[in-house]
């Protein structure tokens, strides 16, 4: 009898039937207690943004890899991608957050697997037929689904928590059970989370949610859908209620501000009125960090706001032209609200006015991959979704889902990862490091970056135990300078990825509010390779050179330096001016994934398509508040 039921259930794939007995399992680690370091001694690498077959769009794109495959891949196991390619990370990750869309969580998978006669909604039936017809039609169906979502026009059956409550509950619990099985404190941290796909007319306001807790707490709630809301308050209410109900903790991470047409980091509140101190406080408390770089472009900076920054345009091409679904073109006046550097500046301005800084962001990178595969290495890049997995077509294929042609495959970045200075590899330690913003972003390479800010650091500090001194006499990245006098000084140390390229330079990006109340920015080159041979000209350090051979997609570490360190004091410090300082580290030029594809598939590409890049790391800022 039991067997027949299971068969029936599988045929129907209404997971409601198998879900009844599905208890969320407590993790049995069997290991001894995980030892915590007195202060963070090593950096942990992870991806806070990954989609599996449970995400409606990922499934529609052809992703058939469930969360288990995603977890095994992140831990370093070989898996077979949805398009049949063997995939393995050169180096495993230390942690992973699977963030499937809560809007329609697992719904397209269930729709696809349902008997056709059960589908009553004409649009859903149409998508059902398209998905079953061919991969091309399936991708077109996803285009329609994303459009409908952007227009807040999805069939209620896909979202409606009433009709779908049972289905959602069972899918969510199955997901929790899998994640619990793979969370291995001390060795590999698997977080519970989801993506809240908030959008206003195609303007990307998406947030990822990360829970600090295990399944015993998280299973007490269901992932909340953004439905038709256009402000994040509903999510924050939900998380407040979650914390109150369970005693747990959660944070949210906004991403792809570069596709928000200025709405992610507004100077006003979402309705256009003046931002209240209460809104600013609530946002800052819930959103300690922001995802600054990922496959769909880099959101650090844009030449429109930073014309003097010759490195500002990295990862902007294609993405800067419109919002997420391209329903609205981007105009220059929208750009300031879409990039993180500007957000940090706006945060100071709002703090000046209200006393609260809503955009006091630490930064991380992540992939937002929809393939279940967290890849950010250019020589092993599995793309944004199964339609962009390695093939001879992906570089030049339009990514407009049949609606527009402005964005093509090569606009994708093989980016990025989240680096976390935590005291142990556990949910609690990594989450807490994120809350205190002791984190940084890279576009993929695993370079090690440390920064401490204080009032009395001198060059000599680097000769002794400067890390210990940094914690004792200063604050690490993500912190706010303690009260002090004189000029703030920063201990900065950068180390290349042990399996990657040398470093070109280390820069400090400073933002401040001047005497007239205007936000300003300036970039200081503070230490670089071959300083004796590369003297700054007109305040700018000359380019490091270029060893990339695009014919073979190779480079040489014959230029640049493996490590760069300095103690830097702000020569323009004004104690009356509110400021932030973050570090940007550039690698020497290396081949991009497009170049590796070109060699691998013997492609002839339009010369306008870039084949190399300077990958980089961004640290969380250190802030200064006048007394």
């Amino acid at each position: 009898m039991r067997k027949t039921t299971a068969l029936a259930a599988m045929l129907l794939a209404t997971s409601a039937l198998i879900g009844g007995c599905d208890q969320v399992k407590q993790v049995v680690t069997g290991q001894s207690e995980v030892k915590e370091a007195p202060y963070p001694e090593r950096v942990y690498w992870g991806d806070t943004h990954l989609h599996t077959a449970n995400s409606p769009d990922a499934f529609g794109f052809g992703n058939r890899l469930e969360p288990e495959a995603a977890l095994r891949f992140a831990k370093g196991e070989e898996v077979t991608s949805s398009t049949g390619i063997k995939a393995k990370l050169a180096r495993p990750l230390d942690f992973l957050v699977i963030t499937d869309h809560s809007d329609g969580f697992a719904s397209i998978k269930d729709l696809y697997n349902a008997p056709r006669s059960f589908i009553t909604h004409p649009t859903m039936l149409r998508w059902y037929d398209m998905m079953h017809e061919s991969p091309e039609q399936s991708i077109k169906a996803v285009g329609e689904i994303i459009d409908a979502k952007a227009k807040n026009n999805l069939p209620p059956e896909l979202l409606n928590p009433e009709g779908a409550a049972e289905r959602l509950k069972n899918n969510w619990r199955a997901h929790i059970a899998t994640v619990e099985r793979y969370n291995d404190p001390g060795n590999f941290t698997a977080f519970l989370g989801f993506e809240y796909t908030l959008m206003n007319r195609g303007n990307n306001l998406h947030r990822n949610v990360i829970f600090r807790d295990g399944g015993n707490r998280v299973a007490q709630v269901l992932p909340i859908a953004s439905n038709n809301t256009i402000v994040p308050d509903g999510l924050w209410d939900y998380l407040d209620a979650y914390e109150k109900k369970t005693g747990g903790k959660a944070l949210t991470i906004p991403h792809n501000s570069n596709l928000s047409n200025g709405e992610m980091f507004m100077l006003t509140d979402p309705s256009g009125g003046p931002m209240s101190a209460e809104y600013a406080r609530r946002r800052a408390a819930r959103e300690p960090i922001v995802e600054i770089t990922q496959i769909k472009g880099d959101s650090e900076s844009h030449p429109f706001m930073s014309p003097n920054d010759e490195f500002a345009s990295y990862g902007d091409a294609g993405w800067e032209l419109g919002n997420l679904d391209f329903s609205e073109k981007t105009t220059p006046d929208m750009q300031p609200g879409s990039y993180v550097r500007e957000a940090l500046k706006r945060g100071l301005l709002i703090q000046q006015r209200t006393g609260e800084n809503p955009y006091k962001y630490g930064v991380i990178g992540s992939t937002d991959s929809h393939t279940s595969l967290s890849t950010a290495d250019d020589d092993n890049f599995f793309g944004k979704h199964p339609g962009a997995e390695p093939s001879d077509k992906r570089v030049t294929r339009s990514q407009g889902l049949g609606r527009h042609d402005e964005r093509q495959g090569w606009n994708y970045l093989s980016s990025g990862y989240a680096a976390v200075w935590a005291t142990a590899n556990t949910r609690a330690a990594i989450f807490d490091a994120m809350m205190r913003k002791e984190v940084y972003a890279t576009t993929g390479p695993r370079m090690v970056l440390r920064v401490f800010g204080g009032w009395d650091f001198k060059a000599d500090d680097l000769k002794s135990d400067w890390v210990k001194a940094g914690y004792q006499r200063g604050v690490p990245m993500g912190g706010t300078l303690k009260a002090g006098s004189g000029v703030p000084s920063f201990v900065i140390s950068a180390l290349k990825d042990p399996q990657g390229a040398n470093l070109d330079r280390v820069q400090v990006v400073k933002g401040w509010v001047d005497a007239s109340g205007q936000a300003q920015e300036k970039i200081f080159d503070v230490v670089w390779s071959d300083m004796d041979k590369r003297a700054a000209v007109g305040g700018k350090v000359p380019a490091v050179g270029d060893t990339v051979d695009t014919a073979t997609a190779t480079y040489q570490n014959s230029i640049g330096a493996p490590s760069l360190a300095t103690v830097w004091s702000d020569p323009e410090f004004d104690p009356k001016q509110r400021a932030f300082y973050y570090v940007r580290v550039l690698e020497i030029p290396t081949p991009s994934w497009v170049n590796y594809d070109m060699v691998r598939f013997k492609l002839t590409l339009d010369p306008k398509i870039p084949l190399k890049q300077q990958e980089r790391g961004y640290t969380s800022p250190i802030w200064y508040n006048p007394a």
Partner: protein, 275 residues
């Protein structure tokens, strides 16, 4: 509205699911030809409910009697065509139909494996097959002094610095953001900081005195290993979760492969080469 509601309610009934599913199972397990020779098409409440419900979703009103009759006539036509098409074998060579059926069969095959629990003996057998995979990484405690990039100049410098270290003098190299001292570090941890090359190099270093230089992805290092743990046999109670995860992943893959192999046995696959 009332009809739609009752149809909806009906469709949520597990019993109804079960009956339909049972019929499908029977059909699938019995080979092909869903009509089983029975030339009967039943229009019951469920069918009408679904048709009316779909109409309502499209037009936001209930269909008139004529419209309902039209929906039913069309549904009957679907069934007649479907059965006739199957009897003519029109599903054959249709990739969409073929893939869909295959996916359903594959899902059936793994359903059982997903709910099974392995015995301790099974898990132990898995460990015994590849003990190294589950063994705790041997832990190494060591100090390292970073010299810089691997250049001839730095290699000579390493010699000088090594001599000083061996005399007990304090030596420091360029500052880097990874610790000078590692306490009981696993191979994974060491590789993560220095790269695999260094981890391998470190393995051959005799404990107790400064030696080097050892090369890493960062350049050259002088090292002193103070203690090295032995590789220990993995104990099931400590690695149960990992082994069980592997067991389950393997069991699912195996169930699918075995189910296919079983079915394949019933077929003669003949490869006809062109003459």
């Amino acid at each position: 509205m009332a009809l739609k509601d009752s149809a909806r309610r009906l469709l949520r009934e597990p019993l109804v699911h079960f009956l339909i599913a049972g019929a499908l199972v029977f059909t699938l397990l019995s080979g092909r030809a869903p009509d089983l020779g029975e030339r009967r098409i039943v229009v019951d409440e469920r069918v009408v409910g679904a048709l009316v419900g779909r109409f309502y979703d499209s037009f936001r009103r209930m269909p008139t009697k004529d419209e309902t009759d039209g929906l039913i006539r069309d549904w009957v036509a679907d069934q007649v065509y479907y059965r006739e098409a199957l009897s003519l074998g029109l599903d054959e060579g249709d990739e969409v139909v073929v893939r869909r059926m295959r996916r359903k069969m594959e899902a059936m095959a793994v359903a059982d494996a997903e709910t099974k629990t392995p015995s301790d003996a099974e898990l132990q057998a898995l460990i015994d097959k590849d003990p190294a995979r589950y063994a705790e990484d041997p832990q190494t405690s060591f100090e390292q002094v970073y010299i810089g990039a691997d250049t001839p100049q730095n290699r000579s410098m390493a010699e000088v610095q090594l001599a000083r270290l061996r005399k007990g003098e304090a030596v420091s190299g360029p500052p880097i953001p990874i610790p000078a001292r590692f306490d009981k570090a696993s191979g994974h941890e060491i590789s993560s900081a220095f790269g695999d090359e260094f981890t391998l190099g470190l393995r051959n270093v005799a404990p107790g005195q400064w030696t080097g230089p050892i090369a890493s992805g960062l350049g050259l290092h002088l090292v002193k290993v103070s203690a090295r743990g032995a590789s220990q046999q993995p104990v099931l109670s400590k690695v149960r979760q990992r082994v069980e995860n592997d067991w389950r992943a393997a069991a699912t893959a195996r169930a699918q492969a075995e189910a296919y192999a079983r079915m394949l046995k019933g077929y003669d696959v003949v490869i006809e080469l062109p003459k």
